[in-house]
């Protein structure tokens, strides 16, 4: 049952019972007192009438007038309310006037005959109050007046009815009024109770804090106790709402914070452990699975030291038990993955036993296996680079040291050749000279190559007369070609500019190396040096009709100390450093030498350099 209804019903029932009871009691009391008064009045009335009739009858009876006169009195008085009957007897007892039909009742005649004062008489079903009045002290007769008791009863009932009706009407009005008032009161109270329940039921206040108060607002306009209550409740709700909001904000912040840290904890690759002083795990972050392959929940409340390598276990245990609150400790131990692999980890321990929020030892485990390996690799590479650098240094230094004695040898040889020698001697000396020059070339190439490789080479760019440079190259190559019986041609494209910005020495060297190489591997035919412009690039091409290079060898030929035939028994002399040097130099210039070749037909070595526009003063 609705509590509001209950209060409402109770009040109404109480009202009805109280009012109904009061009304009934008051009606009965009033009516019964009315009966007493009425009886008194009726008796007085009857007495007056009886006396009046007696007095008036005196003359009629004395003068022996017609009985109709007396009857007229009876008729007249019988019309008065409450008169039941009138009976008049003369001195002889003869009835000279009465009001009965069809006849005077026997019981009344009998009672009247006794001469005793009749107080009350029952005639048939009706009860009458009888009043006797003698006429002239009984000398002339007697008047009996009967007051109808039922008239009193009627009056009583009428009074009771009208009283009840009046009270009922008042009661109804009061009830309706009370209904209205109580309904208003209980409505207000019910509303307050509902809002209080809402508040108590933790219904969200922040979503709609205003409507709640707004619902109460009309009630607060009342100036009675309910209104005051409503004001108090609305204030309470407002302050509750404010507090709730603060709480909610704090809770949200806390949750965010926790989420943040949880996220941090759970997403870092480091494993975070919370241990009690005995080394038993109270918390372990999920990264344990990633690090060591174990499920974190399997290690809750277990000794984590079991995961530590047996050799390091004692160290770890000591570190845990000796860890001091003020001094974070750090150690490197090995741990064993579930697949048996050993991981090197860095552990940092913080004693937070005194921290109420944590109350344990926090251990952060970081896998440093990989980084350790990386460091080792870097060290190895550094060592290798050192060795390479040392080699280049050695080579350069050695080449340089070789130049001086070789120049002396060549110089002295050439001097000796100035001397008169027999043909054999001259031939021998020419051979010495040739071998010496080759050796110097080799050394130079080696030196250049090692310089380039060591990164010590620099470009000396300048505006170059390209045609002149090409002609010089042709001039330098011609003796070798002529020696081998080959035709050497230079073809310069029509649109090739005369001026070109580059390092002339390096360009010349690349072209010489390529040209020398082509001559070296060509037994007969010709070697062509072709320069042309294509796609805003300057193409340098060296064609020969030599032995060619097998496709599978084409990628190797630019490796240092490799010759295309690959056989241990080299059919061609040279250290095989030329193409490597040419490639390195071309790359320095901004190009890359590529090769197309067909075994037995010939090879084409070519590279392209970007055709950089000249500045105006150097143009043309």
């Amino acid at each position: 049952m609705n509590p509001k209804r209950r209060l409402f019903t109770r009040v109404l029932i109480a009202l009805v019972v109280l009012f109904g009871g009061a009304a009934l009691i008051s009606a009965v009391l009033a009516a019964s007192s009315l009966v007493g008064v009425l009886e008194q009045q009726y008796r007085s009335k009857g007495r007056i009438i009886a006396e009046t009739i007696a007095q008036t009858s005196e003359e009629q009876l004395l003068l022996d007038r017609d009985a109709a006169a007396i009857q007229a009195l009876v008729d007249q008085y019988c019309e008065i309310e409450g008169i039941g009957y009138i009976l008049i007897q003369d001195s002889r007892g003869v009835v000279v006037g009465h009001s009965f039909a069809p006849a005077v009742p026997e019981e009344l005649l009998a009672a009247a005959a006794t001469g005793v004062d009749i107080h009350e008489i029952r005639i048939g079903d009706a009860l009458f109050m009888n009043i006797d009045c003698p006429i002239l002290e009984g000398e002339l007769g007697v008047v009996h007046v009967g007051m109808d008791r039922s008239a009193i009863d009627r009056a009583f009932r009428r009074a009771l009815w009208s009283q009840s009706l009046t009270l009922g009407a008042i009661g109804l009005a009061a009830l309706i009024g009370a209904w209205y008032l109580v309904a208003r009161l209980t409505r207000s109270l019910g509303e307050l109770a509902r809002q209080a329940r809402r508040v108590a039921g933790l219904e969200s206040l922040f979503d709609s804090p205003l409507p709640v108060v707004k619902d109460i607002q009309p009630i607060t306009k009342r100036d009675d106790e309910v209104g005051q209550l409503a004001v108090a409740v609305s204030h309470m709700i407002e302050s509750l709402a404010a507090r709730e909001q603060q709480l909610h904000a704090a809770e949200e912040a806390r949750q965010q914070n926790e989420e943040y840290f949880r996220s941090l904890t759970e997403n870092v690759t480091d494993v975070i452990l919370l241990l009690n002083p005995e080394g038993v795990v109270r918390y372990v972050s999920p990264s344990l699975l990633k690090l060591l392959g174990y499920l974190p929940e399997d290690w809750h409340y277990r000794d984590i030291s079991l995961l530590v390598h047996a050799d390091d276990r004692e160290t770890f245990r000591n570190a845990v038990s000796d860890c001091l609150p003020s001094e974070p400790d750090s150690l490197e131990v090995r741990m064993i993955r579930d697949d048996g692999e050993i991981r090197i980890v860095d552990m940092s321990l913080i004693n937070l036993l005194l921290d109420r929020a944590v109350g344990g030892i926090v251990v952060t485990i970081r896998d440093i296996t990989e980084s350790k390996r990386t460091i080792e690799l870097a060290q190895a590479r550094e060592a290798a680079e050192e060795a390479s650098r040392f080699k280049s240094e050695l080579l350069a230094r050695m080449s340089h040291e070789l130049f001086t004695p070789m120049n002396q040898i060549l110089g002295l040889t050439k001097l000796t050749m100035e001397e008169p020698l027999n043909a054999d001697q001259r031939d021998n000396l020419i051979m010495v000279c040739g071998a010496g020059e080759d050796l110097i070339d080799l050394f130079r190439n080696l030196l250049d190559f090692s310089n380039l490789k060591a990164g010590r080479a620099t470009l000396d760019k300048q505006v170059v007369n390209l045609v002149e440079l090409l002609s010089e190259v042709q001039k330098l190559l011609r003796p070798k070609a002529t020696t081998r019986g080959l035709r050497l041609t230079l073809v310069i494209g029509e649109d090739v500019p005369q001026w070109f910005v580059t390092d002339p020495d390096r360009l010349r060297r690349v072209l010489l190396l390529l040209g020398g190489n082509a001559i070296k591997f060509t037994q007969q035919g010709e070697v062509n040096l072709i320069v042309r412009v294509e796609h805003r690039n300057l193409f340098f091409e060296v064609r020969d009709t030599g032995i060619g290079i097998a496709p599978e060898k084409q990628s190797e030929i630019f490796e240092p100390f490799v010759q295309a035939d690959g056989s241990q028994s080299r059919s061609h002399d040279g250290a095989g450093v030329g193409l490597s040097l040419a490639q390195a130099t071309a790359q320095l210039l901004g190009g890359r030498i590529q090769v197309t070749s067909q075994v037995g037909v010939g090879s084409v070595f070519w590279f392209a350099l970007p055709l950089e526009p000249l500045t105006t003063d150097e143009g043309d």
């Binding site: 017609d66 009985a67 109709a68 009857q71 007229a72 069809p102 006849a103």
Partner: protein, 422 residues
């Protein structure tokens, strides 16, 4: 001085105007019974035109109007028409009193006429006494009550008919002469019934006898009511004759119930019963139950039977009634079937002739005083009843009474041979 004179003049003028205003209506009201010469002469009649005794009131009126119509058609009374102002009291004392007062005060009638019934007329006696200074007179009440003829407040009442006491005496003497010793009375329990009862009592007492049994009924009883209790009571008293002092409906009911009970006692009625009305309802009842209710009925009358054409007044009545046949008075309901001839109408006719005589004597400008003076002086009057009617108050017991029995559906005079009850 001039101012004083002017002021005095103004005061005098104002005073005279005031006196005029006060006097004019007083002069007018102080002469209420002086009517303009050409206006009709107004007679006031408060009577039962509805209810169980309406037959009496209506027929009396018609009888009276039979004569007044004749008078009015023949030039009127001293050139003035005679009108009866009617007011219905339904045979109740209260309305009768109020009607009478209104007739006196508002309608300013010259005289009251033909009040019907004892209780009603008894009630207006004090009123007449109250208006004795203005000489308000009641003529020809249709009541035989002794109280209207003796004792207090009766000096302005001028009855024409014989009293119930005389009727009762005639009936009792008739019964005693026919050998009956035990007479019972059925009476209306009011002053009418009591009056008849007293008449019977005195008549019997004169012969040393008493009423052997009595029964009453209440005024207003109708034919449909049962009178079996009353029949039982009187039968128990072993009455040899019953005298009814009743209205016709109650009397009819009693006769019906007595005869239905197989009690074939002679039953007598006084004139007020309205003989034709009684006969009418008994005839209707007889048609229903195939029983003769009219046998053994004996009605006393204060006028001769209208069958007695040898009497000049009766012949005149029949002639004029045939000629005029007055319509019903205004208060009567349309459903009332007027009687052709009736005792009551004849009484009204004779009463009208009495009034005629008084007014004729009172002259062209009758006042209430003059009417009373004339009426008081008039000790005898020939109404055409073969001998003068004695009107002297002191000789009131000399008025005639006729006994009638039913024969061929109407009341006819009792012949000497029929005086013996079978």
């Amino acid at each position: 001085v001039v101012a004083f004179i002017l002021r005095s003049f103004a005061v005098c003028l104002a005073l005279s105007v005031l006196v005029l205003i006060l006097c004019v209506p007083r002069v007018a009201t102080s002469q209420p019974n002086v009517a303009p010469p050409d206006s009709p002469i107004l007679l006031g009649m408060s009577a039962a035109f509805t209810g169980p005794s309406r037959g009496v009131g209506i027929e009396f009126y018609r009888g009276a109007m039979t004569w007044f119509t004749e008078v009015n058609q023949n030039g009127g009374m001293h050139g003035r028409k005679i009108r009866i102002l009617t007011a219905d009291d339904g045979y109740h004392p209260g309305p009768a009193l109020r009607n009478t007062r209104d007739l006196l005060k508002k309608d300013n009638v010259l005289l009251l006429f033909g009040a019907v019934g004892t209780p009603t007329t008894s009630r207006i006696l004090p009123l007449l006494h109250c208006y004795r200074q203005e000489c308000m007179a009641l003529f020809c009440p249709v009541s035989g009550a002794e109280t209207l003829r003796e004792g207090t407040f009766t000096e302005r009442i001028f009855p024409l008919r014989a009293s119930y006491r005389l009727e009762a005496k005639a009936l009792v003497e008739h019964f005693l002469a026919s050998g009956v010793r035990k007479v019972a009375v059925l009476y209306q329990i009011d002053s009418y019934g009591r009056s008849g009862w007293d008449g019977v009592r005195r008549a019997l007492a004169a012969r040393g006898l008493e009423i052997c049994g009595e029964a009453t009924y209440r005024r207003g009883a109708v034919f449909g009511d049962s009178m079996q209790q009353q029949v039982e009571l009187l039968r128990k008293s072993e009455a040899e004759a019953v005298i009814c002092v009743a209205a016709y409906e109650a009397a009819g009911a009693f006769i019906r119930d007595a005869r239905d009970a197989g009690w074939q006692v002679p039953i007598a009625n006084v004139s007020f019963v309205g003989s034709e009305s009684l006969l009418k309802i008994l005839d209707q009842q007889a048609q229903q139950s195939k029983r003769n209710y009219t046998e053994g009925l004996l009605n006393s009358q204060v006028v001769p039977s209208w069958t007695q054409n040898e009497i000049p007044a009766v012949a005149e009545y029949c002639r004029l009634m045939d000629r005029h046949s007055p319509r019903l008075p205004d208060p009567a309901h349309e459903d009332y079937q007027p009687l052709h001839y009736s005792f009551v109408a004849l009484e009204g006719f004779l009463s009208a002739k009495y009034i005629d005589a008084v007014l004729r004597e009172a002259g062209p400008h009758p006042t209430r005083e003059k009417v009373v003076q004339v009426a008081e002086k008039l000790s005898e009057l020939d109404l055409g009843l073969r001998g003068k009617v004695v009107l002297d108050r002191k000789r009131r017991n000399d008025r005639p009474v006729w006994l009638t029995v039913v024969e061929k559906g109407r009341f006819v005079p009792l012949q000497p041979k029929g005086q013996r009850v079978p």
